[in-house]
Symmetry: C2
DNA sequence: GAGTTCTATCGTATATTTACGATATAGAAG
DNA sequence: CTTCTATATCGTAAATATACGATAGAACTC
């Protein structure tokens, strides 16, 4: 294997797994479920971390496709990308379907 | 939020996300789908990495619950834990169900 | 018991991630 | 045009993850 080869879909899937694997990002995603159309400032308050740190986490979430931000005047309004999440859900279900009990 | 509080279930979910977010571990899991009851040595050959590195990755996978190893004589036979994977699948589906399109 | 095989763990170097403050930018308000 | 607000990005220190070789232990063979 040496240099791991992954398809474009797998790259995307890995980015989503990584994005969701950090507790702060996971909680931020859950927060967005409750507070659709929230802005960065809301998430900074929620996470209780430096604004730059939250912005960095948001970048990871954006790059995973789970979240998208739209500029609303001086602020940026964030929300979940349902299509990406649905795709993710299907990927996990497909993966699970391939598995069988073996222990 | 400051010190992120997560439930026991969420801790487990985060461990699984993290375990699957590394390309080598992801590929190892996929390999185990194809090769049930494989031993560490098979995975070392497959991954083309040092034995100690593969063993370390296996530890992460074991701690996530996705994989379980049973000692078979001098070797350790690994396989996927279907129950954990099914639980994980349901968690992702539940999470997705809470989401709605908003962009 | 000595030697062999297979694997886990230890110690450690390097790479990556995560956190912060400082700075830059873009739009709104005056 | 200046100021204020909201946010992204930069530079960087500290923490964590990832890779390796060396070592240790457990089971099998002789």
């Amino acid at each position: 294997m040496k240099q791991v080869v992954v398809s474009r879909d797998e790259e995307q899937l890995l980015r989503i797994f990584k994005a969701l694997s950090h507790p702060v990002r996971y909680k931020m995603v859950r927060y967005m479920v409750e507070q659709p159309q929230c802005i960065t400032g809301d998430l900074v308050e929620f996470a209780d971390l430096a604004q730059s740190t939250v912005s960095q986490h948001l970048k990871v979430l954006r790059e995973s496709g789970l979240v998208c931000g739209s500029i609303e005047g001086p602020a940026t309004s964030y929300c979940l990308d349902f299509e990406t999440f649905e795709w993710f859900r299907q990927q996990v279900n497909t993966l699970a379907a391939e598995f069988v009990a073996c222990c």
